[in-house]
């Protein structure tokens, strides 16, 4: 049986928010699983308060999730404005409008307890916020969340969220039986009575929904028997590190990278590895480098401020040609900046941060699925090329949850034991191939291989030397490895037609949003395509060829660029987005950029707007600008 009106949607975005501690998170996770099991494509992202324990019933206290469910899978990004918000109080609701993430015509479900609450200020703000919602075109449905829950439990704090799960199942016409399963799973560590109550509440919410919601939605799920997993990017990195065969992750805590180490700390030992939390980031990379030197390529994970501290050791890795993998889960900068928010501001640092000439490999993960696979590639390159490999992720990938095809772990390669066989006396530690700069390293313990490696300039036999010839030679050998790797890379795949009016170039986690925007634009008949660049150093071949087939090329990045219509900004003084800057040097074409630092993922619609601006000749003019629905636009124009 289903309600009077059932609207079919190809996708829907719902945000579920409460005060921190009221369990909106759990409600969302449960509902997301219901959708996943039903076969919907999914992207979810946490809504986290910036403070540790913000005062309740304030915008700062809003906590929960945004769920984007779709008939298509995989969903590649967090999507546009929310269609539905389920809020436990009006301040949590307001916070979403302030963040500019809610559609004007959104459907808002909110607990009605505040209408009659004894605290006058609550009643007042409740009225005002709902007023605002309606004014901006939204539909409000007041739901007796608290009242109904109280019928089943005496402490509503511990139940409202389950009632909400049921309500959402009704709203999205999901099978309540699946919900029961999921809830049982979610609470499996709890007592049976807890599970029963939770299920009871969900059913109650479901019933209430069926009986009271005049409009309900159907986001059809294409059932598939391809096994799927759902996890966030940091979990994927951790699992990927294990699969890649790392034995040691040496780190120092820093948001938003740390949660990857949390997962690793929990699972790594079962696979013969472990996490070493060092006294600081310098020691963290030093320990990793020492382990790599001793034959077990290690990993270090950090974010901006930590990257800064690893700069000197990066140089040592390059100079001694000791393999090493650094993961930089980028956050808002500069300095401490916006520790919990997304930015793509470390590209130039990763490429050029080390003093002297320090050729290294820089890669970026563009999806959560890629977070799982990328460390295997990184480790392989690091070892075969004796190089430093920097892998860039970001806060968006780190905390977003994506549904993707379950990796086939049986394919994980068997690892040979460390080869400590003797070598001929005086085998050279840097037996460079003059074409490629490649050489085999000696592992401590190999009889006959004794010798020193040094941070000083050195020759093939590892000895320090100070003459011009051998300094130039060392530089050549280290640099040539990049050229050798570059030859093995393929040109990036083009999303859309191989020629047209506009090409968007992205790197890292903006891929999904960019491609979605491109698809929307193409449906409107706009001639735009996009590429995502995975290797930032060395750059893949064929870029210039690809670019030359488009009238205009611009990057889309989550880092800072000056704005054409900013005061004082001219052709000569404008500072470009980071990838744009690198590409301009590489291909000598006038690559524009849409680069800004909102501290949140880009929405496909924003990019779509920019595409249209571009083709209306307002080139790059809107980077800098915030989307109209953001608060106090005054600030940016003042």
């Amino acid at each position: 049986m289903s309600g009077p009106r059932l609207v079919r949607l190809s996708e829907s975005i719902v945000e579920i928010v409460s005060d921190a501690g009221e369990g909106a998170q759990k409600a969302a996770v449960s509902f997301a699983q219901v959708c996943a099991k039903a076969g919907n494509g999914l992207w979810t992202v946490e809504i986290i308060p910036s403070e540790i324990q913000p005062p309740p019933h304030t915008t700062g206290s809003a906590s929960g999730n945004r769920i984007r469910l779709s008939e298509k899978s995989p969903v590649t990004n967090v999507g546009n404005l929310a269609d539905v918000v389920l809020a436990f109080n009006e301040m949590a609701l307001l916070s979403r409008y302030e963040a500019g993430t809610v559609a004007d015509d959104a459907l808002v479900l909110i607990d009605d307890q505040w209408a009659e609450h004894d605290i006058e200020s609550y009643r007042k703000s409740y009225r005002e916020v709902l007023e605002m919602v309606r004014k901006s075109g939204g539909t409000v449905i007041e739901v007796p969340l608290e009242k109904e829950t109280l019928k089943h439990v005496d402490n509503p704090q511990r139940g409202k969220n389950m009632f909400a799960v049921g309500l959402l199942c009704a709203l999205y016409n999901k099978d309540i039986e699946i919900a029961k399963e999921v809830i049982a799973g979610v609470f499996k560590k709890k007592k049976q009575i807890v599970i029963d109550t939770a299920v009871k509440l969900a059913v109650a919410g479901f019933q209430y929904g069926l009986e009271n919601l005049e409009t309900r939605f159907e986001v059809p799920a294409i059932p598939t028997d391809v096994p799927k997993v759902a996890m966030n990017g940091n979990t994927a990195l951790a699992m990927g590190a294990v699969a890649a065969g790392f034995d040691l992750c040496s780190m120092y805590p820093i948001t938003p990278a740390t949660s990857a180490s949390h997962v690793l700390s929990e699972i790594f030992e079962d696979f013969g590895g472990f996490v070493h939390q060092a006294e600081d980031e310098i020691a963290a990379i030093g320990v990793a480098l020492g382990a790599s030197y001793a034959g077990k390529t290690a990993l270090t994970i950090t974010s901006g401020p930590g990257m800064a501290l690893k700069t000197e050791f990066q140089g040592l890795s390059v100079m001694t040609e000791t393999p090493l993998v650094i993961v930089d889960v980028q956050r808002g900068g500069p300095s401490t900046g916006l520790p919990t928010k997304i930015e793509q501001g470390d590209l130039l640092h990763a490429l050029y941060g080390t003093p002297g000439d320090a050729p290294k490999v820089v890669m970026a993960a563009s999806t959560i699925e890629e977070c799982y696979y990328i460390l295997s590639v990184a480790k392989k390159i690091a070892e075969e090329f004796r190089m430093l490999v920097i892998v860039l992720s970001d806060a968006n990938l780190a905390t977003g949850q994506q549904l993707f095809t379950r990796p086939d772990v049986s394919k994980t390669p068997r690892r040979p034991p460390l080869d400590l066989s003797p070598v001929p006396e005086d085998t050279l530690p840097y037996d460079w191939d003059s074409q490629t700069g490649l050489s085999n390293r000696l592992i401590p313990g190999q009889p006959g291989g004794m010798g020193v490696i040094t941070s000083l300039n050195h020759d093939r036999n590892g000895k320090a030397c100070y003459d011009s010839e051998r300094n130039q030679r060392g530089h050549q050998m280290r640099s040539r490895k990049l050229a050798a790797l570059q030859q093995s890379l393929n040109p990036p795949a083009i999303h859309g037609e191989p020629e047209g009016d506009l090409l968007l170039v992205g790197w890292g986690s903006t891929k999904g949003a960019i491609e979605e925007a491109v698809d929307m634009a193409r449906e409107e008949g706009i001639s735009v395509s996009s590429i995502n660049i995975q290797f930032l150093s060395p750059l893949p071949p064929g870029l210039k060829k690809i670019f030359s087939r488009f009238k205009k090329v611009m990057t889309v990045e989550l880092n800072y660029s000056d704005d054409w219509d900013d005061p004082l900004i001219t052709e000569e003084s404008r500072r470009y987005g980071q990838l744009a800057w690198v590409l301009r040097a590489a291909v000598l074409m006038d690559i524009d950029c849409y680069a800004k630092v909102p501290g949140r993922p880009l929405m496909p619609v924003e990019i779509l707007d920019e595409i249209k601006n571009q083709l209306n000749g307002k080139g790059g003019a809107v980077s800098g600008k915030e989307p109209i629905d953001e608060p106090q636009p005054a600030t940016t124009n003042s």
Partner: protein, 317 residues
């Protein structure tokens, strides 16, 4: 060196025993009269005595005159960056507990820029022979003040004389949590130096040895012109560093119990006369690599795959 192993060496193992040459690589480039020569020779003697296979030893250093040592000792060597020898060494130990690790640092290297790693490596108690060659000066960079430079000493960055109390590294390190081995010796006391390095070599854990080192070029004044008139007392204990009779003309012996932290603390607090020998020793502390590696046994490939697969189930939908 425990006598059992000693015997083994003398007998059976004597067959494929190593010569001093096995531990020698380039000719050392240190100045004439530099104390570093003595430390190198002493290490070579100790390795020879213990018949160590050079390929199973990694010598790690920072940057400085003293940090050139790995170039001259024929083991695997890592001449790293200034102040960071200890993290690198920790990495080597964590990855390869089968390798013996020697660390050589200068006073600037360890006590100044490397101070935080010093503080924490001691707490980790990794198994390594940690030698600080303390010449009370920055030598390689040509005579700047170091944490251990005496008050009033003119250097290129203190032309009117150094103004700060010199650091007493022994006092500092004995105060560090989880310290397991602290000894002090000098380059002008070769026999004592050998015995000290020998004891450090045996100790399971981080053996911290401060070696008072003469630098005739930039710090001839140090240690009473390099030990000539430098007041010392030798710490006496049957489990301590043996005091060869010849030493006693350098200074008196004094009974000391290196197992007692309070005694160690008060001895360590004194700098004049300088306590020489084994100041603190706790052979029973676990090493960090023991603690960590024991929980991390690499399963066979099939188990590895199964575990990874089970883990995946957690995230399956």
């Amino acid at each position: 060196m425990s006598s059992i192993i000693q015997e083994c060496l003398d007998e059976s193992c004597a067959i494929h025993s190593h010569t001093l040459e096995d531990y020698q690589s380039e000719i050392p480039r240190w100045c004439k009269g530099c104390g570093d020569h003595g430390v190198l020779a002493s290490l070579q003697r100790v390795m020879r005595k213990n018949n160590v296979d050079p390929e199973n030893v990694v010598t790690v250093s920072g940057i400085g005159c003293s940090s050139r040592l790995p170039h001259y000792l024929k083991t695997y060597g890592f001449h790293g960056i200034h102040g960071r020898a200890l993290p690198i060494s920790t990495g080597v130990r964590l990855a390869r507990p089968d390798l013996k690790v020697i660390v050589t640092m200068g006073d600037g290297d360890c006590f100044s820029i490397g101070g935080n790693h010093w503080l924490h490596a001691v707490r980790y108690n990794i198994n390594a022979v940690v030698l600080v060659l303390d010449n009370e000066i920055y030598a390689l960079t040509k005579m700047q003040v170091s944490p251990t430079t005496p008050v009033g000493q003119r250097t290129n960055t203190t032309p009117r004389g150094s103004s700060l109390q010199p650091m007493n590294p022994i006092g500092v390190v004995v105060g560090m949590t989880n310290v397991s081995f602290v000894a002090q010796t000098a380059t002008w006391l070769p026999a004592h130096l050998d015995e000290t390095i020998e004891r450090a070599w045996e100790h399971k854990g981080l053996s911290f040895v401060r070696i008072l080192q003469r630098c005739p070029v930039f710090m001839p004044e140090a240690y009473g012109e390099g030990g000539l008139n430098f007041p010392v007392t030798f710490l006496e204990n049957e489990d301590g560093i043996p005091i060869h009779p010849g030493l006693l003309k350098r200074g008196p012996a004094q009974a000391h119990n290196q197992r007692n932290i309070d005694q160690a603390l008060s001895v360590a607090a004194k700098v004049d006369p300088a306590p020489m020998g084994l100041i603190y020793h706790n052979p029973d502390l676990p090493t960090y690599e023991e603690i960590r590696v024991q929980h991390a046994k690499r399963p066979d490939h099939e188990t590895f795959i199964n575990r990874l697969d089970n883990l995946m189930d957690r995230y399956a939908v």
